[in-house]
Symmetry: none
Subunit: 382 residues, 2 copies
């Protein structure tokens, strides 16, 4: 799983596609945002060179007139030209074009993620099946705080759909089952993910206005990348926008490539990603299959940024310390485990409540990690 391709082997394969001198390996434009149309941009990428494509294409919302809230205020809708298509046929052609390129550049064991709403996801899903992609799961992002239906005419549109696909029915793919289970309170991660929409400090703004109308939450990308890529993998996002994929990829030690036509988005993305710090080695190590694992939804705190991977935890008297890892497990020297299990091990105690045992520093204060859980529960509890 997750074998990283060497530049040498990549070059050998690429050479047949792109007519280049034998000795000159093609360098993937890793850590760069390619300008222009994503189909054109992807054509410059060698075949079978990408581990994961994550795509957030235009949804083709087909909105009508203005919409006001009951209090009379105006809803700031997606009116950008990039979301306008004349017909379903036009949208289908566009979709097929980028999916064909995505399929070509993916490694045989690579995977595709696409996110969409009911406006477009059925068309995308049918087309990618036609192209031979094999749907592994459809994932529902259940928004904890969606916009209501102001006119009372339909059900609140409270979710979006993600499709996770392999290259074909028999194709291999990567799935970090253990990390997902750890992240989900020792229960199998389900196909419905409850996550808040992107707002607050995470939302990129310029002069008080959102830079991109549809910025995705980092927690969503966090789960996507953690579940289906390995450290060092190359992730390409054909609709990079303000670079959520790049930011989370960098944080998680994945390599990234973006495609984006709009200069404003490109600039915002580069600035954003530059600020991002990769997690260190120990934080990135996730639970491997078969090991003991946390028994609580501590992972949700990590995923949602309440406690960052790499954070140092310690008991009240600072006799022991441990590091938070990306999947919500803890590491202390060579010992690893859940917040409860590791606390128990270190103390040689029959049991340990990790929530009250482990502390962290926030500002000048020292708090039990239970404080972070309380914050999280306040925000997410439904």
């Amino acid at each position: 799983m997750g074998v990283i391709e060497t530049a040498k082997t990549r070059a050998r394969r690429v050479e047949k596609v792109v007519d280049l001198p034998l000795e000159q390996p093609i360098a993937l434009p890793v850590g760069r945002i390619l300008d222009g149309d994503c189909v054109e941009a992807m054509r410059s990428i060698p075949s079978a060179s990408i581990d994961l494509v994550f795509a957030d294409p235009p949804y083709n919302l087909q909105l009508g007139g203005d919409l006001n809230r009951p209090d009379g205020s105006h809803v700031d809708a997606v009116t950008d030209d990039w979301d306008k298509f004349d017909t379903f046929k036009a949208y289908d052609d566009f979709t097929q074009a980028w999916l064909v390129e995505a399929k070509r550049i993916l490694k045989p064991d690579g995977a595709l993620w696409v996110i969409g709403s009911y406006h477009n996801i059925y068309r995308v899903g049918a087309i990618l099946q036609d192209l031979g992609f094999w749907i592994l799961n459809d994932i529902v992002w259940r928004k904890s705080n969606p916009m209501p239906n102001f006119r009372g005419t339909r059900f609140t549109n409270a979710h979006e759909t993600l499709l996770w696909c392999s290259q074909g029915e028999k194709a291999k793919y990567h799935f970090n089952y253990r990390a997902m289970k750890t992240l989900n309170d020792e229960l199998q991660m389900r196909s419905d993910w409850v996550l808040p929409i992107c707002n607050g400090a995470e939302r990129l703004k310029e002069g008080g206005h959102k830079v991109h109308p549809t910025q995705k939450p980092e927690s969503l990308l966090y789960r996507v990348l953690l579940s289906t890529t390995e450290k060092g993998d190359v992730v390409l996002d054909p609709f990079f926008g303000t670079g959520t994929t790049g930011a989370v990829a960098k944080r998680l030690g994945r390599q990234w490539i973006g495609c984006e036509r709009e200069g404003v988005y490109r600039e915002a993305a580069l600035k954003r990603i530059a600020k991002e710090l990769p997690l260190d080695e120990s934080a990135l190590t996730t639970m491997q299959a078969g090991r003991s694992a946390p028994k609580v939804a501590f992972g949700a705190l990590v995923e949602n940024g309440y406690l960052k991977p790499g954070t140092e935890l310690f008991d009240k008297k600072r006799r022991w310390t441990a590091t938070v890892r990306a999947d919500g497990s803890l590491a202390s020297g060579k010992q690893t485990g859940s917040i409860h299990g590791l606390g128990k091990e270190l103390q040689g105690a029959p049991s340990c409540n990790g929530w009250t045992f482990w502390h962290y520093e926030t500002g000048s204060e020292v708090k039990p990690i239970d404080a972070a859980r309380q914050l999280y529960l306040l925000a997410v509890e439904d």
Copy 2:
């Protein structure tokens, strides 16, 4: 577009249907299960005669399920080239065939529901859009007790998807907004429904084995029928199975028609539905009356003494005042208008809900005039 909810429009719609038999008798096979292929069966149904189609089509093609092409020829996994293209092609043809008939038999303001999983729902969704159906919502049935993924190779497949569609972009449709809001603890019903799968006493069994492999829970149909049909409406289910649609329809005072080719299922369904008792008139009426708020003219409150002509109204911050006039209009200085219109004018807002904007004093309390409407509604219902 077009949500229809008032008793007035409802009556008008029924009138037209009731008129039909006078000129051109139609005998809808209400309360019956039509034998044979559903496309053939639907051909016997008059055009524009059905209020709702609920469909739970098969999607087990790749597991060897049998299927006939629209022309009647049998798709054989052995003799046909059973590659993916053929599989999808055959399924698409089948899907298109039944959707075409469903569209024909639906009234102009009728609606379609389809349920499926990621194996088939993307194909179904794209095809129904191509046929002109307009997706109003996609609904996620989030299973509270799904089957785990035993091999740990993917996310637990914990949901199914329903599509709710009108006849077209401009078509009218029915949505019992109030009923759904009431059902959801006075919050808008969302597009994700958490419901348990069908098991226990509800699950039909014969000799210890389940009669149908994919029997849907009655709670699911309950919500579908309550949200998008009215009492007396005709609901057709082309893949009737063991008759969950019929059972719930009968209970809710809706008429039903089924199509089912398997004799075993037909028998089980008839037996099941026979046992079902319709809710009595008062239970049904009470349920609807409490949940669908009839439109109240502000004038009716004045007329009935709930607000006397001459009463001073004002907004919450008392920036504006207005006087109630005998005909239910308001006057503020030289400006006059309806409760909504005057509120809108004074604020210079694009719209205004007069019911919550205007307040009045009663005793020592200040209340929105909506409070008076509620009192009026309580009195009128009894």
